[in-house]
């Protein structure tokens, strides 16, 4: 049980959030209404997707105050508390890509060295900027016409239709294409949260005294470049690309990894 603690917590978090969204439409609940684009928490706190807001503003429309305030609340939350936790604790696509990634390991696909190296992890930042440019040129929030995240979320709330194809496509891409291809290389929303979450307080902390160099953490980590300090230095994972998923903590049998609060004051 110990080595799936955070995995379970994350699934509970993802399912609870999606169920509240689902209930808002199906049963008229007022806990969490809307979709990631814009939501209302408890019927009055606005929340909205900062990347979506940037795209709409780029397309030339001045959004309502509620949406802007909602984006600000979300930015502050992830900036101070969550880091890139949206990706691993909220986003439904995470469950799809986690499944693909798990199957990759089971099917030994990683060992086969199918390596499409022309897509690098930093591609997502290019895509993020590109999305804003395309929004400005075409006059419509560009990522939203194909975002598997909101397509999947709306699918769960309002029914999928042919939109399920996008979710399957992401699954196949991550399974047979690039390892962590969507979440770790392409997703511009993940890129946005990587930047926003850089300063967050909750961080994975590495204790190199305890580490036995088994590298289990690097195997499960979807962004394993952030774990460069493993068995080298006792420092925190401060890279914004860490999704705070806690899988590394789950799989570590040596108590070398733990969540901790970042201390900006003592240095």
């Amino acid at each position: 049980m110990k080595n799936i603690k955070y995995l379970l917590l994350r699934r509970v978090s993802q399912f609870t959030i999606l169920f509240l969204y689902f209930g808002a439409n199906a049963y008229g609940w007022h806990m969490l209404e809307g979709t990631f684009g814009a939501s209302r928490l408890f019927g009055f706190i606005p929340l909205s997707d900062p990347y979506m807001v940037i795209q709409v503003l780029a397309s030339g429309f001045v959004l309502g105050v509620d949406v802007l305030l909602g984006a600000l609340i979300i930015i502050l939350f992830y900036m101070i508390v969550g880091g890139r936790a949206f990706c691993s604790w909220v986003c439904p696509i995470n469950m799809v890509t986690d499944l693909a990634n798990w199957l990759r390991r089971k099917l030994n696909l990683d060992k086969e060295e199918i390596n499409y190296r022309f897509i690098k992890r930093r591609a997502r930042y290019w895509i993020m900027v590109l999305g804003i440019i395309v929004s400005a040129v075409v006059g419509v929030a560009a990522f939203e016409v194909l975002s598997p995240i909101t397509i999947m979320q709306r699918g769960i709330i309002f029914g999928f239709g042919a939109g399920i194809a996008v979710v399957i496509a992401i699954f196949l891409f991550d399974l047979f294409g690039i390892k962590n291809g969507w979440c770790g290389h392409l997703c511009p929303l993940g890129a946005t949260y990587s930047i926003i979450g850089k300063t967050s307080l909750i961080r994975v902390d590495h204790n190199h005294e305890n580490c036995t160099n088994c590298m289990d953490c690097k195997v499960v980590c979807p962004e394993n470049q952030v774990l460069y300090m493993i068995n080298k230095e006792s420092i925190m994972v401060t890279d914004g690309e860490c999704t705070n998923c806690g899988r590394c903590i789950d799989v570590c049998n040596d108590d070398a990894l733990e969540f901790n609060i970042r201390n900006f004051i003592k240095k």
Partner: protein, 274 residues
Amino acid sequence: MADSNNNRRKFMATTLQSVGLTALGGLLWSGYSDEVKASPLVLRPPAAIEEEDFLKACIKCGLCAEACVNRDSNKNTDGSQRDGTLIMAKGGDHKMIGTPFFIPTEIPCYMCDDIPCVPVCPSGALDMKSVLNKENELDINLARMGLAVVHKESCVAFWGIQCDACYRACPIQGEAITIEHQKNDRTGKHAFLLPIVHSDICTGCGLCEKACITEEPAIFVLPVEEATGRAGNHYVKGWDMKDQLRVKDAKEIHTVDERSDKKASDYLNMEVEY
């Protein structure tokens, strides 16, 4: 030296590749986005702003659709929920994905007095001001979701058969659709009772389309843009004092082009080539 040359070449190549792939992605992405937003025959919720702006503004949150389906008036007699009017476009609907729309033949807009779908819109895609009357109250009759159009050839009332289903279904009865009486010369003893839609009153709710008895509705709602023409500013109604005022201070303008040196009778009789 050779090494640094190599490095520079490699750096140039990867930079070029990144820029190139980004440009490729940008072109594909722009083309795709531009195509998917082109679906003019779509009916939006009440108070929706102009389609071009609506596509920018709608943040695809679905709060309007949730308010629509969960409104108090949307219950069966046993208390169970009915489907809502507003549909969030999904893959396969061939509408801009994630935006709300409705299909009158499935579920028309029932024109709730409190318009639950509009005030919840956080982004400004649904503009509450456009459905506020002079007393600053919500007034659904001000909504312009579309405009009902009658296809005379398939409307049985135009055949001389008595049908006023659309007239009776209309929530602004006797105003948005009126019945015009005309003599039926074929029989000589009956009258035509013809439904006439008045575009200044019709909200485009689609209840008429839903009620229409023909196999394919003979009265149907189109987006206002698609269902209306425009005479243009250069027509001035000589019999209308107010319209006359528009040209009170007009000055004479002489347009000179290739046709100007010809007489009107000459160029009107030429082959069409202007």
